[in-house]
Amino acid sequence: MLFFLFWLLGVGLIVFQTALFQFLPQSIGRPDFIFILIAFAAYRFAWIPGIVLAFSLGWIMDVVGGIHLGFYPLMCLLSFTALKILTTKSPVKESTYQIPLVGLSYFLVQMLFYFLYSLALPEELPEWVWGEALQRTVLVVISAIPLFLLFNSFYEIIQKRRSRVKPLRRRSR
């Protein structure tokens, strides 16, 4: 249920991101909501549902906006795995570090993918601009604050409902 609802939320974010952002001016940039959701999943979800969520949403993003198929799900999976490993049984999991960690990981992922692209498809690679990479990262960090609040409240609402339903089931037995 939790996975499915977050998956639907992810699909909604993809639609929002791909359909609505076209109306915004190019100069202000477009934050990657899916990356933020995957980072949230890395903090809160278990391995299996997290991987499936990251992969499926990455897959959809790949279909909707990717040029070379497979890169986006790979990026999502790597980001999820890296953040999951980093935050499992670690003080970094604390909410204080969550948002900066999202920004840091996003910046590192950008660099990693630039590196991978430079190996695989160097002819299609645009010039690396530090300013733009930082601008995108800042945008993700700024967007992550309200989105994390939203995801947290959504997550807690679902968890509360689940905890209410479970005792009732036990009693009925």
Binding site: V11, T18, F23, D62, V63, V64, L69, G70, P73
Partner: protein, 292 residues
């Protein structure tokens, strides 16, 4: 002890299942990723995904576009009001100008017609502007801006491109009065052009003319042209007067009643042409010599 052992077993089975599930998930994901990345082909799964997301995107885009256009329309309304006021002023101005141009064009056409008629005439006509009208039934007269100064004399005839207008009855120094041909007091010697049947054309005001004294056996039909007979010397022969519009043949009497629709619209007269050639005849008949 047994319970603990069972619980430990269950736990280990559960964790094993989880590990298997994780491995399977990773395998599936890895396989899909491999196929997607290495194959690079936009396969069925990709197409299905696109078909799933496409309508959602389309819905959102349409909604946003719709909302955006509503917002734009609303904002535009504010500007439209001022624009509308400005355009109304412009429209009024242009309508006024258009009216003036139309009037000018209409006058031009009318004058062109008169000029054409004047040029076609074998005699020199004096053009006169209608400056006043007396529209009552009995006194169907007009005032024109030509008088004695322009050699206008009583008895001269007034014409228009459509035919006979009337006859000058009073002459002032600068203005003259013309009795219209459709005045009840007017009578013109006329004939039906096709068979030369003569009659007297009497004016009946707005209704036009009535051709009197045409015998019942005369062949007349609606549409026949009526022209001046040229008898009496006032009007030259063959000037158009009108067209037969109605024929009444009563049991009693020798004559038929023929209604004639004038060619000229007496209500719309603006210019007339006065024929001065008859002046000589008039002066001659009056026993006066023309020294001018």
């Amino acid at each position: 002890m047994r319970k603990n052992t069972k619980a430990i077993r269950r736990k280990s089975i559960f964790s094993a299942v989880r590990v298997i599930l994780l491995v399977m998930t990773l395998l599936v994901v890895g396989l899909l990723l491999l196929v997607s990345t290495v194959g690079g082909r936009f396969g069925t799964a990709h197409q299905l995904t696109l078909d799933f997301i496409g309508p959602l995107q389309s819905g959102v885009t349409r909604t946003v576009s719709g909302l955006s256009s509503i917002k734009d329309d609303y904002i535009a309304l504010w500007n439209i009001r001022a624009e509308n006021k400005r355009l109304h002023v412009l429209v009024d101005k242009y309508l006024k100008e258009l009216g003036e141009y139309r009037e000018g064009y209409s006058t031009y056409l009318y004058l062109e017609k008169i000029l054409e008629f004047k040029n076609k005439s074998k005699f020199e006509l004096i053009s006169a502007r209608v400056v006043g009208k007396e529209p009552t039934y009995w006194y169907q007269t007009i005032i024109v801006d030509r008088g004695k100064k322009d050699d206008i004399l009583e008895g001269m005839i007034a014409l228009a491109p459509g035919g006979v207008v009337g006859q000058v009855i009073h002459v002032g120094e600068h203005y003259s009065k013309i009795l219209l041909a459709n005045a009840p007091s007017s009578a013109i010697d006329a004939l039906i052009q096709k068979n030369r049947t003569r009659g007297i054309l009497k004016g009946v005001g707005e209704k036009g003319y009535v051709l009197n004294y045409v015998l019942k056996n005369a062949e007349v039909s609606v549409g026949d042209q009526i022209v001046t007979a040229g008898i009496g010397g006032v009007f030259p022969a063959g000037v158009p007067l009108g067209r037969v519009s109605k024929i009444l043949k009563k049991r009693r009497g020798m004559f038929q009643e023929i209604e004639v629709q004038p060619y000229i619209d007496f209500q719309k007269l603006e210019f007339v042409l006065i024929d001065p050639t008859d002046r000589q005849k008039i002066l001659y008949s009056m026993g006066l010599s023309s020294k001018r």
